[in-house]
């Protein structure tokens, strides 16, 4: 019995990590039909933000250091949200209606972000800054001219190589200064130390519930409530729901769909940042952190269906719990007490490692999709795909 409760707790805690990571993804997917392969990298950004905030708080001493995690959550949200807005405005809005191309573009962004945290230093930041200043500043200035439409392509053709060249030359000139070329994070993983009140755990029956896990569950619940409140009680939430249901009609009724898209993407990305903050408590943060979670998160969205928070919750907890129960061998242990289930026990034991459990869960998901192809709560109505 206590094994089952322990299994359930661990499953729920895995599920809550999945849920907090999948929440943003599900909202964006529901609204724009876009799967963001860079979602994991936005989580990673959240994790790195937590690391930076921790290092800022460290010299301030004890009473302050304990609460750095509370400060880092909103900052991680903002950082990831800004990255999300840049991503949406810069890339995704040009690809509207081409979901497969969007998938590939976001993968490109994720590759860039992964390499960026490995090699980011002041030099790179200065170069990018110079480039943006020259290119976008020039575009902005010239776009006031009346014949802008005509000279646009010419301007891009001239400005792009010129500002690139100037940025590269600046980089070469400044690369002599060693302080600028030191990588901020390097390719190695960085560690976030949990504040003292998150270490240890509370003893229930015969096992420990780590505070860090409880904190993540609480954080997930808070995020869920906030998202629910935002979507169902605020004006912009109403608009988001309207666009999710019928984009053309909402646009006709005067809802600024482009703004709604950007806002939703920002919120989805921000939630990824919060998820990254949570994940950083469980292990070290590295350039590949996001990749560990991303596929499981997608599965949550596939199983949960589109446009219903409840489906996402159920799917995340279900996948988390089943994953843990199979992977830890709890299920095999329970079944072994019954003699007639012997073949089942053998099968379960074969899958009783965390990587093999994923094989089993995938098989279950595929068989689930045979019954409910559009997820737990499919969209209904005439606009739903056949």
């Amino acid at each position: 019995m206590s094994a089952l409760i322990e299994g359930l707790f661990n499953g729920i805690s895995i599920g809550s990590v999945l849920l907090i990571a999948a929440l943003g993804l599900a909202i964006v997917f529901g609204l724009m039909g876009v799967i963001n392969l860079a979602h994991g990298e936005l989580m990673m950004l959240g994790g790195y933000t937590t690391y930076v905030v921790q290092n800022v708080f460290k010299p301030w001493g004890e009473p302050w250091f304990s609460c750095y995690i509370l400060v880092s959550i909103p900052i991680a949200f903002i950082v990831a949200a800004i990255a999300g807005i840049i991503l949406e405005r810069g890339v995704i809005r040009f690809l509207y209606g081409r979901p497969l191309e969007t998938l590939l573009a976001t993968w490109g962004v994720s590759l860039i972000l992964r390499q960026l945290v490995r090699s980011v230093n002041w030099l790179l930041v200065i170069c990018i800054g110079v480039f943006c200043l020259l290119f976008f500043g020039g575009m902005r200035l010239l776009s006031r001219r009346p014949d802008w439409e005509r000279i646009r392509n010419l301007v891009i053709a001239i400005l792009l190589p010129m500002s690139t060249a100037i940025a590269v030359v600046t980089g070469f000139l400044l690369s002599q200064i060693p302080a600028l070329t030191k990588a901020w994070f390097s390719a190695r993983n960085v560690d976030v130390t949990a504040p003292s009140w998150l270490r240890g755990g509370v003893k229930v029956l015969s096992f420990q519930m780590p505070y860090a896990r409880l904190f993540i569950i609480a954080l997930t619940i808070i995020c869920l409530i906030a998202v629910y409140w935002f979507l169902n009680r605020s004006t912009w939430g109403l608009r988001i729901r309207a666009v999710t249901q019928n984009r053309a009609m909402s646009s006709c009724l005067g809802i600024p769909t482009a703004k709604v898209d950007a806002l939703t993407f920002a919120i989805g990305s921000g939630l990824a940042g919060v998820a990254g903050c949570a994940v950083s408590l469980l292990g070290s943060v590295g350039p590949n952190t996001g990749q560990n979670y991303i596929v499981d998160t997608f599965m949550v969205v596939v199983v949960g269906g589109v446009g219903n928070l409840f489906g996402t919750i159920l799917a995340a907890l279900g996948i988390g719990i089943i994953n843990y129960l199979i992977g830890s061998g709890t299920l095999a242990l329970m079944a072994s007490s019954v003699e007639s289930l012997k073949p089942l026990v053998d099968v379960l034991l074969f899958f009783a490692t965390s990587s093999m459990a994923k094989v089993m869960v995938f098989a279950l998901i595929i068989s689930f999709l045979q019954v409910k192809p559009a997820g737990l709560f499919p969209q209904k109505g005439r606009t739903a795909e056949l």
Partner: protein, 383 residues
């Protein structure tokens, strides 16, 4: 009138065959003599990757199914051939890695791979069947688009986990080394055998190319394009798209299997790394760079991207990921038709105007250039 068109077509065909034969001679006869062994192996690997790209073009370019899990089928083909090579040992012995894990008896599924013909059949059929099965389970429920892509990605991860975890069956993370094994009594890693593998790769590439051409030129190809453009309408026209999609996905998987086998013997090892997520997505970008729905584009794209990768990662390893990421973005936003598509629709036209080969046409080019329309116009002016 029909004669004229036929003649033109015939001439085009002769030119094209000439070009293909010329390329085959360059690649299969001249390059092996000129290039050093190490570079030749590299080229052979790239060419075998372009075979996968052909398979992906078939399902993505023509049918509109974006698979992010082609690494599965690629690796399955590779494993099939590697297992055969591993079994080139005296009767009754086991491949050496089994003893490390205390396995006394050869696992049952290894037995068929003693025979070479069965291995060859298996490395085509097994990936094909796995792809078909996965496709059937997904397409049957009308799961498509992005959903399909992420399910294939998850399947990829699952296969990776499975092969990674099974030390006792397939040597887990360490994979199977083929370089030190023998094939028909010769060392698979030796230069002469590698040269043969290279030439086989070139021949198979041409064969697969023509197979795909044949497949996409007829009725079947039209249906694939129809499914890509409007699946619902295809269904309403009385076809069942599921069967076609399953079939084409299976064929694509089989092609990936062949490519995987060729790639494995020219790399010298197969590990579950072949099934990592980034590698499979990379395959898609080769097709995108070359141009979707242009089979030649898949080959060109693979060659270009892989060569760029080789040179960039040799000289500036840090830049490669930035470059690759930028490639994804640029191809998707600026160059959606790929290099070949851009050449065909835009650059070639411009060039021929500039050189004065063709008159500038302001109205609908397809209508103006249509030989039947020309004929009609001539008839009208005669009157």
């Amino acid at each position: 009138m029909n004669n004229k068109i036929k003649k033109q077509k015939k001439r085009q065909k002769i030119i094209e065959t000439g070009i293909v034969i010329g390329l085959v001679i360059i690649f299969a006869v001249i390059l092996p003599i000129v290039l050093p062994g190490f570079r030749l192996r590299l080229l052979g690997r790239i060419l075998s990757l372009s075979i996968v790209a052909l398979g992906i073009d078939l399902i993505w370019g023509y049918t509109g199914l974006l698979s992010l899990g082609h690494g599965i089928f690629f690796a399955l083909g590779g494993y099939a051939l590697a297992m055969h090579l591993k079994l080139q040992i005296p009767e009754g012995q086991l491949p050496e890695f089994f003893t490390l894990y205390g396995v006394k008896e050869l696992p049952g599924f290894w037995h068929p791979f003693y025979s070479f013909p069965i291995t060859i059949v298996a490395l085509i059929v097994i990936p094909g069947i796995v792809a078909g099965l996965l496709g059937y389970l997904v397409f049957r429920n009308r799961i498509k688009g992005v959903y399909f892509s992420i399910i294939t990605q998850a399947a990829l991860l699952v296969f990776f986990n499975f092969f990674n975890g099974q030390q006792k069956l397939i040597n887990g993370t360490n994979g199977l080394k083929t370089d030190t094994e023998t094939i028909f009594g010769m060392l698979a890693g030796s230069d002469s055998v590698q040269k043969i593998f290279y030439i086989i790769t070139v021949i198979i590439l041409v064969a697969v190319y023509y197979f795909c051409r044949w497949l996409t030129s007829g009725r079947f190809g039209r249906l694939l394009v129809a499914i890509r453009d409007d699946e619902t309408r295809v269904r309403f026209s009385g076809y069942n798209p599921t069967g076609y999609k399953v079939l084409v996905f299976g064929i694509s998987g089989a092609i990936a299997g062949i490519a995987g086998a060729l790639y494995t013997v020219q790399t010298g090892i197969i590990t579950p790394k072949f099934m990592e997520v980034p590698f499979s997505i990379e395959m898609v970008i080769w097709v995108a760079v070359g141009g979707r729905a242009t089979l030649i584009g898949a080959i060109i794209g693979t060659l270009l991207v892989r060569l760029a990768q080789t040179f960039l990662s040799e000289s500036l390893p840090e830049v490669w990921l930035f470059f690759q990421g930028a490639l994804f973005l640029i191809v998707v936003t600026v160059l959606p038709d790929g290099i070949v598509g851009w050449w065909r629709t835009w650059a070639w036209e411009k060039l021929s105007y500039m050189l004065g080969l063709k008159e500038r046409i302001v109205t609908y080019p397809s209508l103006e250039e249509n030989p039947e329309t020309k004929q009609e116009r001539e008839q009208l002016s005669d009157r």
